[in-house]
């Protein structure tokens, strides 16, 4: 049976650490990818207005509603300001269901603290915003936040 004992010297072979970098790189890539905020690609112009009395928004309990003119590459949707939720243009009447759905997807403790973030282009008419607000009232999502840029002190 000497055939099987040829190499045995009684020493433990060193554990190969060659794959450790791969594992770490995997972690690295995971973090690099995961920390990029998944932002739905905007199909509208979205220059936010500026304000200085701002509060921070807690992302975990928020859904966003975008509004503004369709941007350059979506000219076929016309010149009028449109509402965008997630990745699609929606009409005013669709807001309620989208909001309720987003709210129900939250974990239960956060549902009463649900906030709707309005990212509206500054050139939009305020009438559209009040339409959105009316829909939100009907959906009973009463906390809203007008997302703004922070105004630079003059």
């Amino acid at each position: 049976m000497s055939k099987f004992r040829k190499k045995g010297k009684g020493e433990l072979p060193a554990i190969s650490t060659a794959s450790l970098p791969d594992i770490v790189f995997m972690l690295l890539f995971f973090f690099m990818v995961a920390t990029v905020m998944r932002d739905s690609s905007l199909m509208i112009e979205n220059v936010l207005p500026a304000a200085d009395q701002v509060e921070k928004l807690k992302k975990d309990r928020t859904m966003f509603i975008y509004a503004g003119k369709p941007s350059e590459s979506f000219k076929r949707f016309g010149q009028e300001a449109r509402i965008q939720i997630n990745d699609a243009f929606v009409g005013v009447e669709d807001i309620q269901s989208a909001v309720l759905q987003a709210q129900s997807e939250l974990i239960e403790e956060l549902q009463p603290k649900f906030v709707v973030g309005l990212k509206v282009d500054k050139k939009t008419n305020a009438g559209l915003v009040s339409d959105i607000k009316q829909e939100l009232r009907e959906a009973n999502a009463l906390k809203i936040m007008y997302i703004t840029n922070t105004k630079v002190e003059e």
Partner: protein, 204 residues
């Protein structure tokens, strides 16, 4: 030629390099936080109850027309003066609140023709459908600034610290509730409750 195996490259330090990169990315990726003006909408009220009658002098009307001009208390006003006017109105304290107390902390003119008490003072804002959103936010911002200014003043007077720092501390300790701090914040909010009502724009 003697067959010599190429010496193996020591890859032991590779892990360190990768860790360094990993930590670098962990530290430098700041998740951009959105900021904005937080407001609450009024719930829909279907009841047929007559709204209580509010005295004209307790309402501060702000109108924005379709040309983004500002009409405050029936006079045209520049945006830069709005904050001042709103502060004067809120801080007037010319009368008593619902409980019959007069406003002891107000530093306003105590004029008969302006608001009775911060409890009663209501800012009513109305805009046209064609008002630009930018203007609308600017006006909202100025009105919120007026409230913040007064709250800041009271925080300095009562607790000798800034209202902003109290809010920040509350934010920081959101998992370990500090009852005393919360009470203080509530007290200041009660001194100048934010009563900002928005009227529906006219359908045209």
């Amino acid at each position: 030629m003697a067959k010599r195996a190429a010496p193996e490259v020591n890859a032991g330090s590779m892990a360190d390099i990768a860790f360094l990169l990993l930590i670098f990315f962990l530290v430098t990726t700041t998740i951009e936080k959105d900021k904005g003006l937080l407001r609450s909408l009024p719930p829909i009220d279907d009841s047929e109850v007559e709204p209580p009658i509010i005295k004209e002098k307790n309402i501060f009307t702000v109108l924005i027309n379709r040309n983004n001009q500002l009409l405050v208390e029936d006079e045209e006003m520049k945006l830069t003066n709005l904050k001042e006017a709103a502060i004067d109105f809120l801080d007037n304290g010319g009368g008593t609140n619902a409980a019959g107390e007069s406003c002891t902390y107000c530093k306003g003119d105590r004029s008969e023709s302006s608001s009775d008490h911060p409890d009663k003072a209501i800012i009513s804002m109305k805009h046209d459908r064609e008002t630009s959103y930018e203007k609308y936010i600017e006006v909202q911002n100025e009105l919120v600034a007026a409230y913040n200014y007064l709250r800041e003043r009271e925080a300095q007077r009562l607790f000798n610290r800034s209202y902003q720092s109290m809010l920040e501390e509350k934010e920081k300790n959101q998992f370990s509730k500090d009852e005393k701090l919360n009470d203080q914040i509530e007290r200041i909010k009660d001194l100048y409750p934010m009563k900002l009502s928005e009227a529906e724009p006219d359908k045209s």
